[in-house]
Structure formats: structure tokens, C-alpha cells
Symmetry: C2
Subunit: 343 residues, 2 copies
């Protein structure tokens, strides 16, 4: 039996990604040999999930090649960073990882540049694995009494390098013998819940049930769900959360039914430069994702379509944010600043 590929691997100078656009039908990898291929893979969601995008972009910088083929230099790396930063706008982890790579360029002599960048990318990758385990541990103590959890989109191993963020506490609980069942919103338009969350949880032997996004309300109303847990693409200084479109209505429903609503994300997801969620740029994606699911036209051409990829959940609807450092209950500016102090 061959070992399943990792979400992201950097081997022999190539970036190898599970092609998440092909799951669950096929488990295949895509190889990126250039910055352009990496940019395209992020844009097309071959690799997605805020932490995973950051890691992939960090490795992507290393694929920069100078036009004269002599060897990458400072300018070429910086251009690669600027280009990769245009791949997607909302997940702040992308910019956070690229900023770390840029800092390395600023402080490293030319001759050591390649090695220093490689070390930094590997460090970002390793920190992400640690982060998953820590979030798993902190989240498991919050979810310890839950039998049944609802999640949205995919904030699991396919969105990071290991256990994920929102799914990390579930893997942790499962590993320690706690019986927990997951309800996964399918997450239109791109069905990351159906295709990715259901796939990775069922591969791990964790019971998972898929529902359309419109069915979550009924489950919450009938008491089927003990807690809701999601990831985040960016969190503002006041605790407002940008996450996959459909997160906000879940937060309203959870609040209405007095069910805890948790957000799990590494501290790199906070953007303290933005005071509130409405300042977070929201990616608008192509009409075809809504109008032509699986390539078949379902919306008449005369009708308009909207396709925002994310929405904003105000902090007051968030019961707690779980990071690799611990838990921020009832998040607000002050509690977040204190939690991140010394980051």
C-alpha cells in the first residue's frame, strides 16, 4: 500500500501539491516548477485553505528563475513575491508568509540567499504542523462534551499541512478514542465540504455526513448539532472573521439556537492592521462557478450572478477563537491583542 501524498511537499526543487480540484474522484498530484505555475495553482484552488496557501507561496518563491538562467537573485525573488501576492486577495496567511520570505531577503547576503529562503519556507511548513497539533489540543478541550459537530468548507488537512484548523480538534478527539460525528456543509459553489472535508474525514475513519448548505438550519433547530467549528481566512483586530461564504449565516443560526460557534485559526490569520471585518477585501470569483456547476449551465444567460468567495462574521457571534496559543473566549480587540502579545 502506497502512502497517501501530502497536501504540500517540496522535493528535488519542485513543489508537489495534491490537486484538490480533482478530489474526491481522483487523488493525484500536480507539480509546480515555476512561480507562474504556483500562482496558477493557488488561483485555480489546486491548493487552497489559508495556511496551505501561505506554505505553497513560500515554496513558490524558491521556484524563481532569472531570465538569463544563471541563478536566482534578490530582484528575481522579490518579483516572485510580488507576483504570488496577486494570486488571491482574502487569506492574510498568503501575505504573512510572503512577508517572512521578504524579510529573509532583506537580511541575508546574496551568496546565502537560496539556502536561507529554503530554510524559511521549511520553517513555515514545520510551524504549521505544530500549529495544527496545538489547535487540536486546545480545541479538543472545548469540544470534549460534543458528540456531533457541524463544519463548513474545508479547514482540515487539505487546507494546511497536517490536521488542519477547524478539523484538528476532531482528529485529536478521534485519536483519543472520543466518539465524534461530523456534519459537513457541502459548501457551494465549489463544494469543498462535500469533496474535501468528507473525503479526508472518511479516509481517517471519522463518521461524516454531507448536507447542502441550506440544511444546516434544520439540524441546528432540531438539536442535532452540539457545536459549530470553522476556519478563517483573515481575522480583524476586533475579532471579526472573514471565512468561506456561508459562514456568517451559520454564526447567526448558532447564536439563535444558543449553540457555540468556534473559529480555529493560527495566529498568522490575524490582521491587526484592520480594525474591523468590513475592511477585509472580499474576493469575487467567476460567474461560471455558480452558473455552471460541474460544467453544466443551470443559470439562464439573461440572469445575473454574484459570487463572493467569503463573508464577514462579526466578533459578537463568535463564542471563541482557537489558535495554536490557546483559546480567546468572546473575542474583542483587547483580548486578541493580549493573546497575540509577543507574537
Amino acid at each position: 500500500m502506497t502512502k497517501a501524498p501530502e497536501t504540500i511537499a517540496f522535493t528535488d526543487g519542485r513543489l508537489v501539491l495534491i490537486d484538490q480540484t480533482r478530489l474526491p474522484g481522483e487523488l493525484v498530484t500536480l507539480e509546480c516548477n515555476t512561480v507562474e505555475q504556483t500562482h496558477d495553482a493557488i488561483r485555480r484552488l489546486v491548493v487552497r485553505g489559508a495556511p496551505a496557501i501561505g506554505i505553497a507561496a513560500a515554496y513558490g518563491v524558491l521556484l524563481a528563475r532569472p531570465s538569463d538562467a544563471i541563478g536566482p537573485d534578490r530582484e528575481v525573488y522579490l518579483r516572485a513575491i510580488d507576483f504570488l501576492a496577486t494570486s488571491r486577495p482574502t487569506a492574510v496567511n498568503l501575505f504573512w508568509a510572503l512577508d517572512r520570505m521578504k524579510s529573509v531577503i532583506e537580511r541575508t547576503p546574496d551568496v546565502q540567499l537560496h539556502d536561507a529562503l529554503l530554510v524559511e519556507a521549511v520553517t513555515i511548513h514545520n510551524e504549521d504542523r505544530q500549529m495544527c497539533q496545538s489547535i487540536g489540543r486546545h480545541g479538543a478541550s472545548l469540544l470534549g462534551d460534543c458528540r456531533s459537530v457541524l463544519t463548513h468548507c474545508n479547514a482540515g488537512g487539505l487546507a494546511t499541512s497536517m490536521w488542519g484548523t477547524a478539523l484538528a480538534p476532531i482528529y485529536q478527539l478521534h485519536q483519543s478514542g472520543h466518539e465524534i460525528k461530523v456534519f459537513a456543509d457541502e459548501t457551494r459553489p465549489l463544494l469543498q465540504g462535500a469533496r474535501l472535508t468528507a473525503w479526508e474525514l472518511s479516509q481517517a475513519g471519522i463518521p461524516v455526513t454531507v448536507l447542502t448548505d441550506s440544511m444546516a438550519g434544520s439540524l441546528l433547530r432540531t438539536g442535532t448539532i452540539d457545536a459549530v467549528i470553522v476556519g478563517a481566512d483573515r481575522i480583524a483586530a476586533n475579532g471579526d472573521v472573514a471565512n468561506k461564504i456561508g459562514t456568517y449565516p451559520l454564526a447567526v443560526l448558532a447564536s439563535y439556537h444558543r449553540i457555540p460557534f468556534y473559529v480555529a485559526a493560527p495566529s498568522s490569520t490575524f490582521d491587526l492592521a484592520l480594525q474591523c471585518g468590513d475592511l477585509i477585501p472580499i474576493e469575487q470569483r467567476d460567474r461560471s462557478e455558480v452558473a455552471q456547476p460541474q460544467g453544466i449551465r443551470v443559470v439562464p444567460d439573461l440572469a445575473e450572478v454574484i459570487n463572493p468567495a467569503f463573508d464577514i462574521t462579526p466578533a459578537e457571534l463568535v463564542t471563541a477563537i482557537i489558535t495554536e496559543r490557546g483559546v480567546i473566549e468572546s473575542p474583542n480587540c483587547e483580548r486578541i491583542a493580549r493573546h497575540l502579545d509577543g507574537r
Copy 2:
């Protein structure tokens, strides 16, 4: 230019239906010559929408043929009624229409039976047209200040014989020169909003924008929507509403944002025998509708799937119910009983 076919027509002893499973790709009709074909057309959603199901079933009774091919008789019609009643469980209009046909059988001599049943089916059909216009008139006065309305599923001309229920006030306003824009939830799993509502409104020249069900929360949060209006498949004595899955979360979101939430339905949609919504039977449909949209597998086989076709919205979340008789504000048992008195 040929005239567009009607949603339901009964011509030369055949029931002719727009095949709604083929829209918006193709506008084609399906002919039913037997009770079995009618049952199948209702079950497969060739014809759907609570009022339309009732009308189709009433005509379907007329397609009953005795096994000895001599001519339909009382028993054959009654068997047809019992069989058609098994086609779908939630929309009460189906049973209401079949009960009217049964009453005709009970009070009519053998020799006049066929004609009496035909008259009754045509009467049900004509009453439905009147109902659409009346709901349009009553609803237009409620929506008169709205520029932008959100709807879910299809409660339009394709769900009835003419203007529909939830869409009737919109057609009425459009006809009287009022500028109104419709946001249509796509309505997974079967995309009646994208395929049918967007199609019929854009055919009528009414601006319509399609969104995934998960995007409605953001539109309500940002003040884009002035009112939500939906149809109903059954309304209990206390005003609890069974409607397409995804209606309940919209009602919670509308309430949270203090936006009016209207339900438009003929008085035949009330089931006074049921005290509250949790007594309404909810149809559970096939796994494949969720797991294989457009025939392509998106849910791994190891994952479970749920597929309830309807949910229950408690009366306290309903701003008003609009029927052909007028408007029931803040519906409850007493107000509903008074409204329907003399039905």
C-alpha cells in the same frame, strides 16, 4: 413566434406538462397519458410546486382507465386518487385537490362521472389562476416600497398555473411599472431557484440575480434586501410553514436583520388538522440529488448524506402570510382560523 407552453395543460384527454427537469437548457413538454405517468412526473419533479402538483394530480385522475378497457368507473377513479396521493408527501395541495375529486365521485351518478370530474379539475385549475392574481394584488401592497426582494426555490408561474404565489406580487408590481429587482437563491440540491425562478423572471423581463444559498446572509447583512418572500408546501393551524429546505435559515436571518419575511400561498395550503409544523411529514429524497449534482459524484461513497426536501419555519418568524383572500399579519391559530372562516 410560437406561444410559450403553459406549465400545465389538459388537451384532447392528455395532460401536457412543461418538463421542469430540463429547464433552463431546454423548454420542452412531457405528455402524460396514464395515471402512472402522472405519478412519475410528480415524483420526478417534471411538475413541482404545491399548487401545480394539485392541479396535475386532479387532471391525472381523469387518465384512469379500467383494466378491461370498457371505460373508467368509480372504483378505477378512486384507485387512481389513492395512487396519486402517494407521489409526494409534504405539499398538502396534492391531497386537497384529490379530496375534491373524491367528493365529486361520492356525489355524482355513474353516467355523469367523467364529465363531473373534468369540470372539477378545470375548476381547480381556473381557481388557481384567480388565486395567483389575488395574491399578486394583496402582496403588491405589502411590497410596494421594496426595490429588492429575495426569494428561495420557485414559487412562480412554474409552480402554479399562472403568476405563482411568492412571485405573483413581483409580476403585479412589474406590470404596474414599479421597478423591482429579485435575488434568487439557487436552492440546492435541485436548483429550482437558478433553473426555474431565474428563467421565468428573465423571460418576463424582470431583473434577477442568482446566488448560492450560502450568500443570502451577506446580502441581508449589508442591507441589499428589502424583504424576503417565499411560497409554502403546507401551513399548520398555528402558522408554522413547511417550505423548500433552506427557508427556515432565511427566516432566522430575516428576523435577525429586522427584514420582513413573507409567505405567499393559497388557502388550500393550510392544513388545519395539524396543530403545529413539527407534525408535517417531511419528504426525504434520494442521496444522489446531493451526492451527484449534474450526475457527477462529489461526495465520497464512505460519507453519509441527508436530503430532506423541506424544513419548518415557526410562525413567530413569519411577518405575514399572503393568501388569495388577503393578508394575515403575525399569523397565529386564531388569526388563521378567522381568515379561513367560510373557506
